[in-house]
Symmetry: C2
Subunit: 363 residues, 2 copies
Amino acid sequence: MIRKLDARQRRDWLTLARTETVGPVAFDQLIGRFGSAATALEAIPELARRGGRAGALRMPSAAEIDRELDDGEALGAQLLCACEPDFPQALAALDPPPPLIWARGDIGLLGRPSVAVVGARVASAAGQRFARGLAAELGQAGLVVVSGMARGIDGAAHEGSLATGAVAVLGGGVDDVYPHDHADLYARLVERGCVVSESPPGRTATARDFPRRNRIIAGLSRAVVVVEAELRSGSLITARLAAEQGREVLATPGSPLDPRARGTNDLLRQGAAICEGVDDVLRALEGLRDLGEREPRAFPGPPAEPDAGLLSRVADLLSPTPVSRDEIVRTAAAPAPAVFAALVELSLAGRAELLPGGLVARI
Amino acid sequence: MIRKLDARQRRDWLTLARTETVGPVAFDQLIGRFGSAATALEAIPELARRGGRAGALRMPSAAEIDRELDDGEALGAQLLCACEPDFPQALAALDPPPPLIWARGDIGLLGRPSVAVVGARVASAAGQRFARGLAAELGQAGLVVVSGMARGIDGAAHEGSLATGAVAVLGGGVDDVYPHDHADLYARLVERGCVVSESPPGRTATARDFPRRNRIIAGLSRAVVVVEAELRSGSLITARLAAEQGREVLATPGSPLDPRARGTNDLLRQGAAICEGVDDVLRALEGLRDLGEREPRAFPGPPAEPDAGLLSRVADLLSPTPVSRDEIVRTAAAPAPAVFAALVELSLAGRAELLPGGLVARI
């Protein structure tokens, strides 16, 4: 299923990805079921209707797709689709991967082994110095450093790795420069590094974009190092996502009297490896198997048409508490492909939310 | 073998413990082989001669023993022998235990569940504040806090636990007040807590007393918490001894940029539990089985007389690199009791050193 898309196929891929209620999980299922974005686009209005949708499914117009493609081109950014050979291998290994990313700058960096260095926005001077030094040492060891361009640790990690390989993942579009005092850093990242986003160019980041941003930071990286983080902070979410995806998680210790060490010390308590410097990261990477050649993606089983009875049974089993799709399959006592197809139809109808990690919830 | 000694037996026990070349391992073997200190004392000149000793074995005179007992009495200190019921249970569980300790102050504290809090002498203000607070919280949780009365973390741990239960273990005698600026702390420890030492009263600590002091700190404690420690510091030795004795080891994390956190972070890397506060210690203690009733000590096998051939074979197998006694038994292809007896004779002769942990080396 790894293939280069032509211009027409890329438009379809982008259209499906930007269709209302189609997240990465549904996208993945639909491509698996229908074989192409074009066929999926033809089928989904009917699927949404069968799933119980009252109004029409909101799909982007040809003009909207033109504008996103033109905006990207104007920025010199490239659209990379998950099925394409130049899509970052580590990101393609996610289950499911983001359907597409925009990348501005040196996209060659996205193919190199990478480590994320992330942490608190309100970071101590010592923490920033440590992050900058660690990033520089990782770069000297041949690793690309990924971070989120936030204030504090993220910014220091980019500064330390600009000379050797820096990748910034943004919540907004690849041209969404935030915070504003990182305008100069952003310009240098575009010139010497690479800026990546799942959002369309021109989009300003909102709070709900950051979990997706964090998932890409973790997804691009073989290991995530958290330097200073309070409890319940975004960096810990990135660490959790990394662990779920089988990536290494490291944390830099700090004094129990410093609230900025609470999150990292808690990661250590939960089994993260300790990170006092580049050697700790290199040791953690030794344990990882090489990602190797990118393997053909195994898509879910053969097409299956769920009947109306199964659809309503599955809908009744959902609750606002996320449960695994496998549990729904067991409880519904129906074939997995049929249950998965029913869940996609319910999600297109806006009645179910398909979450990464195989979870599903009622909306 | 748990028994109360009478005055005469205590003198013999003390005499054997203070005899040249008789360390805790040889003491333990000799009591096992001869049943009492008195019989062992009669036998050891001949054992030392057979082991190859040229001159006479230096044993304390009756006057010297009188003086040690009088000195202790003058201080109001008590001599506790390892076979006696009031010897601290956790310390008696060591293999081998120190033959005896002197204790000044409230010896009732030695029977209560204890945790050691130790660390750097040149400690940061934050580290000392943390140690003091942790010790106070441990005290409120009903735990006695053990430390080494050194400057820095040790002193802070004592200060924090004086009101609830503080035990100081000294390298010199129980009256060896060092450092001098801890004279006031020492006075309060004697008045409200307990001061313990394996050395005779009146002895000033030398460098070689501290490993034995550290072994008692670990031995009295169910868990050892290290707060700030540089690499290759005494606190790390205490932690290693604790781990060897099956006690829990915890370490307080710190910034990689602070050299005083190198030792504690390294302990975390080696698998110590993280300690950010009293809850972490209580959690670590949950995993420990209760020390329960003190069990009769299993002494090594029946008496065995090693012949001259075995003695010289065993002597030839030793080298300055410590090896396990079991390895000597295997290589010598002789019964373990006979090999152990040969090793005691060689140690009395000053040709072998019997180390805790079942190791032996050529002197």
